[in-house]
Symmetry: C2
Subunit: 218 residues, 2 copies
DNA sequence: ATATATTTTTTGGTATGCCTAAATTAATAA
DNA sequence: TTATTAATTTAGGCATACCAAAAAATATAT
């Protein structure tokens, strides 16, 4: 398997899994990489054989420790280049992604570390995304499950990890859609259910529901 | 044909042809690119179909105008990166080539021009090789045919464009081998034959011979 | 629960870049 | 000139990355 192909899969899986907390399904990858679903099935099987992901039928994919290491390495390269292009070479934030998509595949540790050092070893890129360090340690992203939220804090709904219609319908009814702003006004000790302010409505969700909603501190 | 493959062929042909003055044979390319001769034959045929080179059996290859433009573009990217890596990022001259081999394939004019501008739009790279400008204009290299040499100047023999044994045997007899230093002591108006000092011997060569010897001003 | 829709996988099939070995062509030497 | 050697090309094959269409599995809706 070509190195660049491997890297594109791993990066995509990492990014689509909310930092490896969720399992990613084929279709999402296929859309992101602009590949036929059949191609993705093949690709994932190969990555599984390379022990870079765990992939079983009707399960989805999740990175192994090795896969995750590699993914973080690529993400580091990508984000360091983005930062360098923006801060040192005067590119606009809107331009840097496309160029970084190509530069990220050049695997030269000394080069990346040199760029990072010039930039003062930043921990965040111009988009606010965390940059993994040389060992792959990454600043915990501010994506959390709603079940891990804190009282009185404001969050933005970023996504869900349960894609069943039942669940999505439920969310829609509650207006808990992507982009919605919520404020945690009570967390019930007894059953960990949460009361939220959302669109000026007060709603109550079970812990089970909160476990499947990804939010970000506002 | 993959862009990277195309670029590697064109660059190699350019470099092996003394700035496009000579025709390049298959074997040389095959060695330089580390490919099987059969693969090179295929590759050259494809480049011919793409009108990037002129290639006919038992002739060799030579870049077309389009091919030459592309080759110069790649060479510009390569040499700008080499210079940037050395001068701005603190890499040793011995390290830069390898990294530039990868970076050169990223085709982003704005990026290269930005790097060039930071460097002060240099005309030579750290190795002394000329860097083509954005339009592909390149400082004339100091490789010339011996037939174009000037009286009383000293030159180093850099190569030949006629590889027949007959010719090579003749050169060897005259000690006109690669690396030899020659001084032009007479150019005969009548037939353009040249008298040289070479290894303390005075030798006379016809214009036809001089046409096939590549030299560089000492 | 069963029919319908969606997703995933399987099954051919294509194009590319490479190779080895054999055949051809060109160059060199006797 | 003819035999030998060297370079090039052809022929046949392999692996990879892709795709479209059919089949199978899974999820959804009535």
């Amino acid at each position: 398997m070509r190195q660049e192909t491997i890297e594109n899969y791993l990066k995509t899986i990492y990014n689509l899994s909310y930092n490896n907390t969720a399992v990613v399904n084929n279709q999402t990858i296929s859309k992101k990489l602009n590949l036929n679903p059949a191609t993705v099935t093949e690709g994932l099987r190969k990555l599984h054989n390379l022990k870079l992901i765990v992939y079983e039928k009707s399960y989805g994919s999740r990175l192994t420790t090795n896969g995750s290491k590699l993914a973080l390495d690529i993400i580091r390269r990508h984000r360091i280049w983005e930062t360098y292009l923006a801060k040192e070479l005067g590119f606009g934030w809107d331009e840097v992604h496309e160029i970084a998509e190509e530069l990220e595949h050049i695997n030269n540790t000394k080069l990346i570390n040199k760029l990072a050092s010039i930039l003062g070893n930043p921990i965040y890129d111009p988009h606010g995304e965390p940059i993994p360090d040389e060992k792959g340690k990454i600043q915990k992203s501010n994506f959390i499950k709603l079940s891990e939220s804190k009282l009185k804090c404001n969050y933005i709904v970023m996504g869900v990890t349960d894609h069943s219609t039942l669940f999505l319908k439920y969310l829609e009814k509650q207006k808990l859609i992507i982009g919605a702003e919520v404020k945690v006004i009570n967390i019930e000790d007894f059953d960990n259910s949460i009361t939220l302010n959302c669109n000026k409505n007060k709603i109550n969700i079970s812990n089970k529901v909160a476990e499947s909603i990804i939010v970000q501190l506002k």
